[in-house]
C-alpha cells in the first residue's frame, strides 16, 4: 500500500456491469439444486439405486414377470405333453464340447433300462447320442394365452431328441416346461392378492385412522379378530368350502380372494397408524378449513404422503401370498390341475420316497425360494428408500 501511495497512482476503479443480485451468496450448483427440487419418487429412486441387492432383486423379478407373458415360448414342451418313454427321467445336463470339439449347447440322449429287482427306471446318458438344442425354432404348437396359435419356441429339443432340463415327472411331462407355465399362475396370484389386500387395507385402515371414534373401534376389533385365527388353518377351512363343482379358473380367483381377504390386516394397521399421525399435520387442518371433503383429504393429501411406505409393505406382503398358495396347493386344498402353479408342481413331491428317488421333482422350490427372497430384498430396499430419516 505504501508503495502505491508513494508512486501517487490511483487504484483502478472497478465497476461491475451485471445488475446487483441480493441472493448471489445463496446460489448453489445445479446438481444440488436438482436434489432440492427432486420429487419424492425421484429421491426414492436415487436411494434405491445405491442398494445394489434390492436393485438386482428388482431386475430379477422384472425378468420373471416379463417371462409370464411368453411362458409358451420359453417352454420347449407344452404343459401336458406326455413323453411316455421317459417317465421320471432325471435332468439332462447341457454340454458344449464333445470329443474335444466345440458343438454348441447340446444334451446326451438317455438310454433307458429297467432294474428288474427294484423296478426302478434307470436312465443313462449315452455319449454317442449328441442332441444339439435348437434355438428360435418351430416346435410343438400352442395357443398363446388361449388366444393366438403358434409353434415358435425360444428353444426346442433336437429332432427325435429330448430336452429335459429339469427332468420329468410321473407322467413323463417335462418339469422345466411345467415350471415355466406354473410361474404364470404363482406370480399373478401374488399380484392379484396383493391388490385386494391393498384396496381393503387402504380403505378400511383409512376410515379407521381418519374418522377415529367408533369406526376406528369397530375396525380395530375386526382386525384383532381376524388376526386371532392361525392363517393356514383358516385358509384351509375357507378353501375347503369352495364348491367342488367350480371350474379350476374360479377356484383360482376364489383362492386369491381368500388370501387377500385375510391378509389385509397388517396393511390396514399400518395405514391407520400413519393416518393418525398425519391428520394432525398443519396441511391437513388447512385443507379441512378450506372445506375439502374427507374423501379428498384422504386420497389427495394423506395417501400420497405415505404411498411409498405402503408400496414397500405391499412388496413385502407378496411373498406371504406366494408361500400361502404353495402351501394350500400342496395340501390339495388350493389350485387344481389342469391349472398349474408351483404349489401344484410340489404336490408331486409329497413323500420322502420322492426326495430319495426323484429329487429333481423338488426343484420348483428353488423358484419359490428365489422369488420370495427377491421380493424380500426389494421390499427391504424400498422401505429404506421410502424412509426419509435414513
Amino acid at each position: 500500500m505504501t508503495d502505491m501511495q508513494a508512486s501517487g497512482d490511483r487504484l483502478a476503479h472497478y465497476v461491475r456491469r451485471e445488475p446487483f443480485d441480493a441472493y448471489d451468496g445463496e446460489k448453489t450448483d445445479p446438481a444440488l439444486e436438482n436434489y432440492y427440487m427432486a420429487t419424492q419418487w425421484k429421491l426414492m429412486w436415487w436411494k434405491l439405486k445405491r442398494h445394489k441387492l434390492a436393485l438386482w432383486s428388482g431386475a430379477f423379478l422384472l425378468v420373471m414377470y416379463l417371462s409370464i407373458l411368453v411362458s409358451e415360448l420359453i417352454a420347449p414342451y407344452s404343459l401336458a405333453t406326455r413323453n411316455t418313454d421317459f417317465i421320471y427321467a432325471p435332468p439332462q445336463a447341457v454340454h458344449l464340447w464333445h470329443d474335444g470339439r466345440f458343438v454348441g449347447p447340446f444334451v446326451y440322449g438317455l438310454d433307458y433300462s429297467l432294474d428288474m429287482d427294484t423296478l426302478k427306471r434307470n436312465y443313462v446318458p449315452n455319449p454317442d447320442k449328441v442332441q444339439p438344442i435348437r434355438f428360435f425354432c418351430r416346435g410343438e404348437s400352442y395357443e398363446w394365452m388361449g388366444l393366438i396359435e403358434g409353434s415358435f419356441h425360444f428353444m426346442c429339443p433336437a429332432e427325435d431328441g429330448t430336452l429335459f432340463l429339469l427332468g420329468t415327472d410321473r407322467l413323463g411331462r417335462d418339469m422345466f416346461s411345467r415350471l415355466a407355465y406354473g410361474t404364470r399362475i404363482s406370480l399373478t396370484i401374488g399380484l392379484i392378492g396383493v391388490t385386494i389386500k391393498f384396496v381393503l387395507g387402504i380403505v378400511l385402515g383409512g376410515l379407521a385412522g381418519y374418522y377415529g371414534g367408533w369406526v376406528d373401534m369397530v375396525i380395530q376389533r375386526l382386525i384383532e379378530i381376524i388376526r386371532s385365527f392361525p392363517e393356514l388353518p383358516l385358509w384351509m377351512a375357507l378353501s375347503a368350502s369352495l364348491p367342488v363343482s367350480w371350474s379350476p379358473l374360479y377356484i383360482y380367483f376364489g383362492i386369491t380372494l381368500i388370501l387377500g381377504l385375510i391378509g389385509w390386516t397388517g396393511l390396514g394397521r399400518a395405514v391407520r397408524s400413519k393416518l393418525l399421525s398425519l391428520r394432525e399435520e398443519d396441511f391437513c387442518t388447512a385443507a379441512n378449513l378450506m372445506g375439502a371433503k374427507p374423501r379428498r383429504i384422504i386420497f389427495r393429501h394423506l395417501v400420497p404422503s405415505f404411498m411409498s411406505h405402503l408400496i414397500a409393505s405391499a412388496t413385502l406382503a407378496i411373498p406371504t401370498m406366494i408361500l400361502g398358495e404353495t402351501a394350500l396347493s400342496f395340501l390339495g386344498l388350493g389350485l387344481r390341475p389342469p391349472i398349474t402353479s408351483w404349489g401344484v408342481l410340489l404336490t408331486e413331491a409329497q413323500n420322502i420316497n420322492v426326495v430319495a428317488l426323484y429329487p429333481w421333482l423338488l426343484l420348483p422350490v428353488c423358484a419359490v425360494i428365489a422369488t420370495v427372497l427377491a421380493f424380500n430384498f426389494l421390499g427391504d430396499g424400498l422401505r429404506d428408500a421410502a424412509d426419509p430419516y435414513k
Binding site: 376389533r221 384383532e224 379378530i225 388376526r227 386371532s228 385365527f229 392361525p230 392363517e231 393356514l232 388353518p233 383358516l234 384351509m236 377351512a237 375357507l238 375347503a240 368350502s241 364348491p243 411373498p319 408361500l323 404353495t326 402351501a327 400342496f330 395340501l331 386344498l333 410340489l346 413331491a349 409329497q350 413323500n351 420322502i352 420322492v354 426326495v355 430319495a356 423338488l362 422350490v365 419359490v368 425360494i369 420370495v372 427372497l373 424380500n376 430384498f377
Partner: protein, 332 residues
C-alpha cells in the same frame, strides 16, 4: 394395573363371541353337510342309502334346524365344555381331540421357547456386529429360513435324518407308545422325536424375530443416551444390557401375538407332512369330510389359544412397561 386387567378381560368377551360366530359360519359354508356327503359316498359305492336312518341321524344331530339355532346350540355346548359330536369318528369331539390337543400345545410351547432361545443371542450378535461377516451370514440364513416353505424343509429333514441317524423320525413318538398312557418312557420318546418338528416349525418364526430384534436394537443403539453412557465410561457390556436391550425387548414380548398364529399355522402343514399326531392332519381330514363340529372345535380352540396368548403377552408387557400400565396401552 387391576383396572387395565379388568378392561383387557372384558374386551376379550365380544372378541371370542365374534370368533365363534365366524368359525361357525365357515364350517357351515360348504354346500351340504356330512350326511349328504355320506349319502353320496354310499350311492357311489352302489349301496342304497337307508333314508329312514339318515333322517333319524339328521334329527339326532340337529342338522334339520336352522343355522342360527344350530349356532346357539353349539355355543351353549361350548360354554359348558361340550364341543359337539364328531360324525366321522362317532365319538364326542372332546374324546377325539384330547390327546392331540395336548401334543399340539406341547409342540407350540417348545417351539416358542426354541424361537426365543435361538433368536435372542443371534439378534443381539447381529445388531452389535452390524455389517460384519457374521451378521451377513446370519442375515442370509434368516432370509433363507423365511423363504423356504416349511413343508419342504420338513421333507428334506426327514430324509436327512433317515440317512444320518438311520431312524424313521416321522410321528411324535416310537410306535410302541402310541395309544399308551403317559409314562416316562413315552415322554422321553416324545422328546426324542420333538426336535425336528420344532426346528422346522420354528425356523421362519425365528428368522422373523431375529430380523425384528436386530432392527429394534440397532434403533436403540443409535440413540443419544447410549452415546452418553459410553462417553461416561460405562463398560460396553453394561451399556448394552442395562438400557438398549431392555427397550428393544418390548416388541419381543408383544410379538408373541404374531408368533403364536404363525406357529400354529406352521405346525398344521408340517404335521401333515411328518404325520404328527397333532391338530393339523385331523383338521385337514375333518375339513375334507365336512365333519363340521370337529373342524370347528379345532379352529375355535386354536383361536382361543391365540387370544389367551396375546392376553398373557399384554400382561407381561404391562408389567414391564409402565407407559402401557398407566395409560391403558392403546399403543400398538
Amino acid at each position: 394395573m387391576f383396572a387395565y386387567l379388568v378392561r383387557r378381560l372384558l374386551v376379550m368377551v365380544p372378541t371370542l363371541l365374534a370368533i365363534s360366530a365366524i368359525v361357525f359360519t365357515i364350517i357351515q359354508l360348504p354346500p351340504g353337510d356330512y350326511l349328504s356327503t355320506l349319502i353320496a359316498e354310499l350311492q357311489s359305492q352302489g349301496e342304497a342309502a337307508n333314508l329312514e336312518r339318515i333322517e333319524f341321524l339328521r334329527q339326532q344331530y340337529g342338522l334339520d334346524r336352522t343355522p342360527v339355532e344350530q349356532y346357539f346350540h353349539w355355543l351353549f355346548g361350548l360354554l359348558h365344555g361340550d364341543l359337539g359330536w364328531s360324525f366321522e369318528y362317532n365319538l364326542p369331539v372332546s374324546h377325539v381331540i384330547g390327546d392331540r390337543l395336548l401334543l399340539s400345545f406341547l409342540v407350540a410351547f417348545v417351539t416358542v421357547i426354541f424361537t426365543y432361545a435361538v433368536a435372542f443371542p443371534i439378534g443381539i450378535y447381529s445388531a452389535t456386529h452390524q455389517y460384519s461377516w457374521g451378521d451377513y451370514g446370519l442375515t442370509l440364513l434368516g432370509f433363507l429360513g423365511l423363504a423356504t416353505p416349511s413343508f419342504l424343509l420338513a421333507l428334506v429333514m426327514l430324509y436327512l435324518a433317515n440317512i444320518w441317524f438311520g431312524t424313521s423320525i416321522g410321528g411324535l413318538m416310537d410306535p410302541e407308545y402310541i395309544d399308551q398312557p403317559m409314562s416316562w418312557g413315552k415322554f422321553a420318546s416324545v422328546l426324542e422325536h420333538l426336535w425336528i418338528p420344532v426346528i422346522v416349525i420354528g425356523t421362519s418364526g425365528t428368522a422373523a424375530m431375529i430380523r425384528r430384534l436386530r432392527a429394534n436394537l440397532l434403533d436403540e443403539l443409535q440413540k443419544q443416551y447410549v452415546t452418553t453412557a459410553r462417553a461416561k465410561g460405562l463398560p460396553p457390556r453394561r451399556a448394552l444390557l442395562k438400557y438398549p436391550l431392555r427397550m428393544s425387548l418390548n416388541p419381543f414380548i408383544s410379538d408373541i401375538g404374531d408368533l403364536l398364529p404363525h406357529m400354529i399355522s406352521g405346525a398344521a402343514i408340517v404335521s401333515v407332512v411328518m404325520s404328527l399326531p397333532t391338530n393339523g392332519p385331523m383338521l385337514l381330514s375333518a375339513l375334507r369330510s365336512q365333519d363340521m363340529y370337529l373342524a370347528g372345535s379345532f379352529l375355535m380352540i386354536e383361536a382361543v389359544l391365540i387370544v389367551v396368548g396375546v392376553f398373557l403377552s399384554d400382561l407381561a408387557l404391562a408389567a414391564l412397561d409402565p407407559r402401557i400400565r398407566l395409560h391403558g396401552g392403546a399403543t400398538k
